[in-house]
Symmetry: C2
Subunit: 242 residues, 2 copies
């Protein structure tokens, strides 16, 4: 049976947060009405941001091995709840039989284009340097509001804290960054790193201005699966996996 | 590289809660220090409790297909965060190359044998009828305190509510069942259904008397992986999956 293939583990807490969103967004009264998913949660994949910046080994073959695994298992669609990994999106898509939903496309699509909007991107330095979020904004005629180096330092710190399970402190930093950005005229803040979604869900930190890339990708995956009735009992076979 | 294979999806919210516990219990400062896991989260598997009671189709071949899948992917150990599924534990273990940690063994092992203890088991009717928890208690010389039919009805309702994402009401019911049990002289309450772990984590419901089977299985899986250094960078290869 087809399922949502999740290339996760980058990082593990962000993957759990993403899966939680998939479950919460699925209307279901019993197990069998939920959507099927298989998750590769291998956190040993080389640091994506460092690799993009030229400061570490290239994780592409590890990411590709995860995509190949999910395809072999029979994934009907693949999602990668790690923004930085989307630096290699085109190369991964080329080798994948299953479509791969693009996290930046789903996040940016959640913002209605409107002339007065100024959109900040909170992400790893690797994602910022890669430029795919800026391109996705430009495609939708949305104005990108750069954040200062000081705020970027705080975003980096927030991401590291989530990976080290220091969610309390991470949430405080995210709240501070959001307040500073709004004070500088930002109207929408894309949480363009899945660790930031974990920090944001800790206690509501200015949620009105946040566009959560993890939530938008989960919503897109759920829509994809529900439209194809992957949670429909009719798909049930005794041997559920190849 | 070896990883923790998780046969999940029964139900999906319980699987997410279990994975959250794995991540929280792992001491790690960055992604790469976390343990690798692969999760089969196929909720279309036939209802385990109904099957044990003779009220529904047998899920064994579906469970077996999940165990086979995780073995083929290279699991170093398998865990099943669904108590009722352990009715088929012996048959699943026979076909598995990887060891399968038994959720009831890990839960019961968390209770120090002590003559005055009276242990209640909150579980599906299938798990209760199967008897593997009662046997695990007996093996440790622990006294099983049966709960009334009225309380069992409430446990059933609590489990269904979690599967339908009505966590608020489920938590209230669990709190009530726990209070009634303690009033009747129970000293330890095993949450012997992984849905009950979701309800228990909603807002601290008499946590002192709870033995959480989901938490104990996660702790056992983390110990298993850490002892074998599966989170050690030395295990890293470029092709992470077969």
């Amino acid at each position: 049976m087809p399922f949502i293939g999740v290339l996760g583990g980058m990082g593990p807490a962000a993957t759990v947060d993403f899966l939680d969103k998939i479950v919460q967004l699925t209307p279901a009264k019993c197990d069998q009405e939920h959507l099927p998913w298989i998750v590769s949660g291998i956190p040993q994949i080389f640091d994506r941001s460092q690799a993009i910046l030229g400061d570490g080994p290239n994780p592409f073959s590890q990411l590709a091995s995860g995509v190949d695994f999910l395809n072999r298992a029979g994934a009907g669609v693949i999602v990668i709840p790690c923004n930085s990994s989307h630096h290699w999106y085109d190369q991964l898509l080329t080798r994948s039989r299953a479509p791969i939903l693009h996290i930046a496309e789903t996040a940016v699509y959640a913002i209605s284009p409107c002339s007065h909007q100024r959109v900040a991107i909170l992400a790893t330095r690797g994602t910022m340097s890669s430029g795919f979020y800026q391109q996705a904004l430009a495609k939708r005629q949305l104005v990108h509001a750069s954040i200062s180096t000081i705020l970027q330092d705080r975003v980096d710190r927030c991401i590291s804290l989530v990976k080290a399970a220091e969610i309390d402190e991470a949430a405080d930093i995210l709240s501070n960054v959001a307040q500073m950005s709004v004070a500088q005229g930002v109207t929408n803040i894309i949480l363009a790193c899945t660790e930031l979604s974990v920090a944001a869900s800790f206690h509501g930190v200015l949620p009105a201005v946040f566009v959560n890339s993890s939530l938008e990708l989960a919503a897109a995956a759920v829509r994809y699966g529900l439209e194809r009735k992957w949670n429909h009992l009719g798909n049930l076979t005794r041997d559920i996996l190849p």
